[in-house]
């Protein structure tokens, strides 16, 4: 079986509503180029979306744009998302629970749980200089 080389896409996204859809378009193009079926990248699309909206949530209004990098082979996708915001302490984010959220005014903050649960490897580094998220997702 022919294994195509890894393809990489680097994008810098300004803070514009729904700009994450541009990254998804790029993801779809890479997958198409490598002959990866649509149903194989469904979860990858959610991971990309969550990583980018998380970055914009924490980047602040005046921070530089968010950097996104995909490296895809027929076997796996590595997603790297970097923002230059003020950062946060990932350990301080309480794991959300549906029952607790139903009783709370704050229904949000599901992104980290979704990314951790849906990925095959999830790493986050955050400091006052910004946040880096690296996600590995198997595609086969």
């Amino acid at each position: 079986m022919l294994v195509k080389d890894a393809v990489t896409l680097k994008i810098t996204l300004p803070k514009i509503p729904d700009i994450e859809l541009v990254a998804l378009e790029g993801l779809d193009r890479l997958a198409h180029h490598l002959g990866i079926a649509e149903e194989k990248i469904g979860e990858a699309r959610i991971l990309v979306t969550e990583a980018i909206i998380n970055a914009f949530e924490h980047s602040g209004e005046k921070s530089p744009p968010v950097r996104v990098e995909f490296t895809m082979t027929t076997k796996e996708l590595v997603i790297f998302v970097r923002d230059y915001g003020k950062g946060f302490e990932p350990a301080s984010i309480e794991e959300p629970d549906i029952r607790t959220k139903m009783e709370s005014k704050n229904k949000r903050e599901w992104g980290l749980k979704v990314m951790k649960s849906m990925s095959d490897d999830f790493r986050i580094e955050s400091s006052h200089r910004g946040t880096k998220i690296t996600i590995r997702k198997l595609l086969s």
Partner: protein
């Protein structure tokens, strides 16, 4: 590319069916919640959210649906999702929404499940 969010709604036998199209982001989730509230205040307790035309959602958009589930729980109502893309289904499962909401393959299946509920 995924299209901007729109929704349509209809009521069949006092059951609200909200059908979405495009990316369910924060504004999409809010629009669904507003449409639900409009009918909920008139006594609608059984709701279907048809995601057939929404293959991309985000967790902020979906978090608005928790409010809907919460309000329906208080009146012994129920929310059922239909035509859910497998990846979206996994996300809703991770968020725990199916602990309090149902899922059916189609809108017709959901309507049938409501009939059997009574």
């Amino acid at each position: 590319m995924e299209q901007p969010f729109t929704l349509t709604s209809e009521v069949r036998n006092n059951r609200l069916i909200i059908s979405t199209s495009g990316y369910v982001n924060n504004l999409g989730g809010e629009a669904i919640a507003k449409e639900f509230s409009r009918h909920f205040s008139s006594g609608t307790k059984e709701v279907i959210i048809n995601l057939a035309q929404s293959k991309v959602v985000n967790s902020i958009g979906m978090s608005f649906l928790i409010e809907i589930i919460e309000q329906l729980q208080e009146v012994n109502g129920k929310l059922v999702f239909t035509n859910v893309d497998p990846a979206v289904e996994k996300m809703l499962t991770i968020m725990g929404l199916f602990r309090f909401a149902g899922k059916e393959r189609t809108v017709e299946d959901a309507l049938e499940s409501f009939s059997q509920r009574k």
